[in-house]
């Protein structure tokens, strides 16, 4: 019943080919077939968002996508954010604002915020809250996450103006 499919996908700019059983989710494939363990699995039913990645630029829950459905796509994960070992401004903002504690939900929030800021570089506080309400964090109470995204947006705005 269960066949194996050869899929090809680009992850953080690197092309991978891998043979996967259809029922392996994109989260499974990223984590265990390709070794990108930065993306985490928190619920497997699309509520917590710990598994958030960008698929062809759009934020999505990798626990709700089968790997075979991601054939011929470009995926971005948390491992692709830092540039040459240096934290990007969003990552910097997270550590500056103590926006993580246990860290398990953090990659999901980073990818979510990355998607938000790409599409809406100058979000209002309400827009940040609305977008960040997509994911669950159990440690921080969210305030520092919202502040970090706010700071990252403001910093990018500054940089843009300079």
């Amino acid at each position: 019943m269960s066949d194996v499919h050869l899929i090809s996908l680009v992850v953080n700019g690197t092309r991978h080919e891998v043979a996967v059983e259809p029922r392996r989710t994109l989260a499974d494939v990223l984590r265990h077939d390709l070794g990108y363990t930065g993306t985490h699995v928190g619920c497997e039913h699309g509520i917590c968002g710990a598994c958030t990645v960008l698929l062809d630029g759009e934020p999505c829950r990798s626990c709700l996508i089968f790997g075979v459905q991601a054939d011929d796509t470009a995926v971005e994960t948390v491992e692709g954010l830092a540039q040459e070992g240096k934290l990007n401004p969003l990552q910097e903002a997270f550590t500056e604002h103590h926006a993580l504690q246990c860290g398990f939900c953090t990659p999901g929030f980073l990818m979510l915020a990355t998607a938000l800021l790409r599409e809406n570089p100058a979000p209002s506080d309400d827009e940040i809250r609305e977008a960040m309400a997509s994911n669950i964090c159990r440690c921080t109470g969210y305030q520092s996450i919202l502040e970090a995204v706010r700071a990252a947006a403001d910093a990018a705005g500054e940089a843009h103006r300079e």
Binding site: M1, P22, H45, P59, V68, E130
Partner: protein
């Protein structure tokens, strides 16, 4: 929570989807965005032996204006409806992008599809309610060709529609603009399925209400037309008293169930509150655009 094993087929044309479904038989399921189906598979609540992935059929992804009517291709993402802004397409149908913002969260809306939601037939799902509210037609493709089903006949019960095995929703067609329409929802948390949702649409001739539609979600197995409320509204004068009376009529007419999110009695109360608020919201649009955020 790993799903049971299945065979996977991806198609890129509608004909191929229909052919594959015919070959695979009744138990095969269609997957588009997967936002409703995959959680159920992960919980092993459903175990289709085969999935036919239609998400990359390009001809099914569109939103187009055809005279008065708005035609939404089945593979249109919720997010695409949310972002509709071209007045040539969306004018008079603003309630649809407004409703889109209630659908889950952003990462759900980038993947989930309009047709998928219609076919899934959750009675509190926004598109199911909109279809009934706006007298939409669901266009279904099958081995014998296409057929059109009125939304009011399409939903049979929880997660049950008149789609036959081997058929595919290809389009949802809204017949005419309804600028005075609104949706109000109550959910325990932001982004959750509504405990109760109310969607209304009216025409106004001066102060006089005409052709009212009131649909309540979360109170029955299908999106429920609250005809008792519509009767109160038709030919009545728009205003708080009318809205309140219509709301009471809607609440009296529903017989919801209880669950962990709310008692039956509570759902009746919410019905009245949300219908009233939605009516006020819808009529207020007469002055211009307004944001239909709710409870």
């Amino acid at each position: 929570m790993k799903p049971a094993a299945f065979a996977y087929h991806r198609v890129e044309r509608t004909e191929d989807a229909l052919e594959r479904l015919a070959e695979l038989g009744d138990e095969a399921k269609v997957v588009a965005g997967g936002q409703s189906l995959v959680p159920m598979m992960n919980f092993r609540l459903v175990r289709p032996p085969a999935l036919v992935d239609i998400s990359r059929i390009p001809e099914l992804r569109y939103v187009m204006r055809d005279g008065d009517s708005l035609r939404v291709g089945a593979l249109t993402r919720h997010r695409e409806v949310e972002c509709l802004s071209d007045p040539d397409i969306v004018s008079g149908y603003e309630v649809l992008p407004a409703a889109a913002r209630w659908v889950g969260h952003l990462p759900i809306r980038t993947r989930g599809t309009f047709g998928g939601s219609i076919a899934h037939a959750d009675p509190s799902a926004e598109w199911c309610m909109m279809a009934v509210l706006l007298d939409a037609t669901v266009v279904v493709a099958g081995p014998e060709g296409e057929r059109e089903i009125a939304a009011r006949d399409f939903f049979l019960g929880f997660f049950t529609t008149t789609i036959e095995p081997g058929e595919l929703v290809v389009e949802v067609r809204f017949p005419r603009p309804r600028p005075l329409a609104a949706i109000q929802e109550f959910a325990r948390r932001h982004g959750d399925f509504a405990v109760v949702a109310a969607a209304v649409a009216v025409d106004l001739d001066g102060d006089r209400i005409d052709d009212a539609r009131v649909v309540v979600g979360g109170v029955d197995e299908v999106p429920l037309r609250a005809e008792a409320a519509e009767e109160v509204l038709d030919a009545a004068s728009a205003g708080d008293d009318t809205f309140a009376e219509a709301a009471r009529a809607a609440a009296a007419a529903v017989e919801p169930s209880s669950d962990v999110h709310g008692s039956a009695e509570y759902r009746k109360e919410l019905t009245a509150v949300l219908v009233r608020r939605a009516l006020a919201d819808a009529v207020a649009r007469r002055g211009g655009t307004e944001d239909g955020r709710g409870a």
